[in-house]
């Protein structure tokens, strides 16, 4: 379907972009791979698009493993994949970025756009809203929910958080910087997301008129890795993805952050898996125990029980990858 007509501005500085975004019903446009498709499907109909790719200051990867890395929100995913600093020190992020979409998508899509894309829930994408409630009943619970959440399912938001980059970034302790009409604020990446309680609420905490400018990853220490399970080799979002960031003292895990994608309406931190691992030596057995702990309190819907076992496997394999072990030899 043809998109509804809109105004278009392509400012070259952040200040001009904020001014252009102040008009009502404005949306920021970057790679366009999510927003333009939602507009074609008539799920979004902004009256003005502000194109951010001409704001050159928004793009680029700076820093090193020792001092931490800052990635501009306008950085192409292809540029993240090409970054030696990211590849060497933050393999959890590098691997996940490499697996986003296709070569063409990675040449278009940006880090900020990936973090702020809207859910892939097919009820939302067909105009039934984020919560997909009709006459007080949840279409997700009644209908096909094979790709929906297995955690927080006692609530009304049953879609899964769509950004695969959020998961390694949160595991690595990254912060996001947002600029708006009232100045700049910096927050942990996990605070970009929330589970909406009403259909009017968005799952993103960023306000209209604000721009995500960069993410900052603290210096790399310990070991990090991601493991993604997907139905197709390309062109698709993960079904389940686990990102882990471990601090080791000798061979013992002294601290762990284990983040999951595809299981909840927000990037899901598995404290249970972390607790199962801390104080132990990383091995095939402890990795498997952590995977089992991760799903102990899972409440799958009618058609997504399969995600429970995928989650166990993803956590186990991400941990073994971080430990330099080959899961297929285990």
């Amino acid at each position: 379907m043809t998109m509804k007509a809109f105004e278009y501005a392509s400012p070259s500085t952040l200040d001009l972009a904020l001014k252009a975004l102040a008009a009502p019903s404005s949306e920021a446009l970057s790679g366009g791979t999510d927003l333009l498709c939602r507009m074609k499907d008539d799920v979004a109909a902004p009256e003005r698009l502000v194109y951010l790719k001409d704001v050159k200051d928004l793009a680029g990867v700076k820093g090193s493993a020792a001092e931490g890395v800052t990635i501009g929100a306008g950085t192409l995913l292809a540029s993240v994949v090409a970054s030696e600093a990211v590849k060497a020190s933050y393999p959890a992020l590098w691997q996940t970025t490499l697996e986003v979409g296709t070569p063409q998508i990675r040449n278009m899509a940006t880090v900020g756009g990936n973090l702020l894309q809207r859910p892939r829930c097919w009820y939302f994408r067909n105009g039934f809203g984020l919560l997909a409630m009709q006459e007080g009943k949840s279409l997700v619970r009644l209908g096909d929910n094979r790709y929906h959440s297995i955690f927080m399912t006692d609530g009304d938001a049953l879609f899964t958080s769509p950004s695969s980059l959020a998961v390694p970034l949160i595991a690595l302790g990254a912060t996001a910087t947002i600029v708006g009409p009232n100045g700049e604020r910096t927050l942990p990446v996990e605070d970009l997301y929330r589970a909406p309680r009403t259909d009017k609420q968005r799952e993103l905490t960023i306000e209209p008129g604000e721009i995500l400018t960069k993410v900052t990853i603290p210096p790399a220490k310990g070991k990090n890795a991601s493991y993604e399970i997907r139905a197709k080799q390309s062109h698709d979002w993960p079904i389940v993805l686990a990102s882990v960031n471990l601090t080791l003292e000798g061979e013992t895990v002294s601290a762990a952050k284990i983040m999951l994608y595809g299981v909840a309406p927000i990037p899901w931190r598995s404290a249970a898996a972390e607790q199962a691992l801390i104080g132990k030596k990383l091995s095939v057995e402890t990795a498997e125990d952590a995977g089992k702990a991760a799903v102990k309190n899972a409440q799958p819907l009618s058609m997504n029980q399969f995600k429970v076992s995928l989650t166990t496997t993803a956590v186990k394999r991400a941990l073994l990858t971080a430990g330099g072990m080959k899961y297929w030899e285990a």
């Binding site: 007509a5 809109f6 105004e7 501005a9 008009a23 366009g32 791979t33 333009l36 390309s234 062109h235």
Partner: protein
């Protein structure tokens, strides 16, 4: 060149007919002229508050397509793909899914393969746009390798594959089979002629280096 845009064609082609009937259908649903004038006035009022130019309605743009400066008029919502095909008669890139999911519209913008169906034409001004119309069709070119290696069945995905393949070989002239698979995994062939496509890509790499 401007003269290319207005080049007369012998008789009415099927494309001209479709374009004409599309215009007729579109004009039937345009709201009244009074409404349009009101919208325009509102847009101008909003623009006055902005420090950057705000484009709306019909916008004149210049695109550098296959080495030529092409002038045309689009709306901000016009995609690069539709502008190439419907306005500039550059019909190599194909419209299939129109959602950045299939690869048939793959076009090179500043040398990088992108989905032109999910790219706005207004955002491509000042950039170098290449479609497969500009590729070498001789024995060392990618199109020839697809022909020689049965890299197509129905052929509708082929322009996208050829473009993605050219972009891959420009960046990596000596790809392994695995690298070819990764480089072309943004394109889909519903006939399933992937074996021929992969053979063609490897053969093109070989003939490009003159082996």
């Amino acid at each position: 060149m401007a003269d290319l845009d207005t080049k007369p064609r012998p008789g009415a082609s099927r494309r001209d007919f479709l374009r004409g009937s599309g215009l007729a259908a579109a004009s039937a649903v345009i709201s009244g002229p009074a409404r349009a004038a009101l919208d325009e006035a509102a847009a101008e009022a909003r623009e006055a508050q902005d420090a950057v130019p705000v484009l709306s309605g019909q916008v004149k743009i210049t695109l550098k397509v296959n080495g030529q400066e092409r002038h045309t008029t689009v709306e901000p919502r016009s995609t690069l793909l539709d502008t190439l095909r419907h306005r500039l008669d550059v019909t190599g890139p194909k419209r299939v899914c129109d959602r950045g999911s299939c690869g048939a519209c793959t076009t090179l913008v500043d040398g990088a393969p992108v989905y032109s169906c999910t790219t706005l034409a207004v955002s491509c001004q000042g950039k170098t746009i290449e479609t497969l119309e500009s590729f070498d069709t001789g024995p060392e070119g990618v199109p020839h390798a697809f022909h020689q290696n049965d890299g197509l069945m129905c052929g509708y995905c082929t322009p996208g594959f050829v473009t993605a393949c050219k972009a891959l070989l420009d960046r990596n002239p000596h790809p392994t089979l695995e690298e070819v698979k990764q480089g072309l995994n943004g394109n889909i062939c519903r006939c399933g002629t992937y074996v021929g496509v992969l053979k063609a890509a490897l053969a093109a790499a070989k003939s490009m280096k003159g082996a």
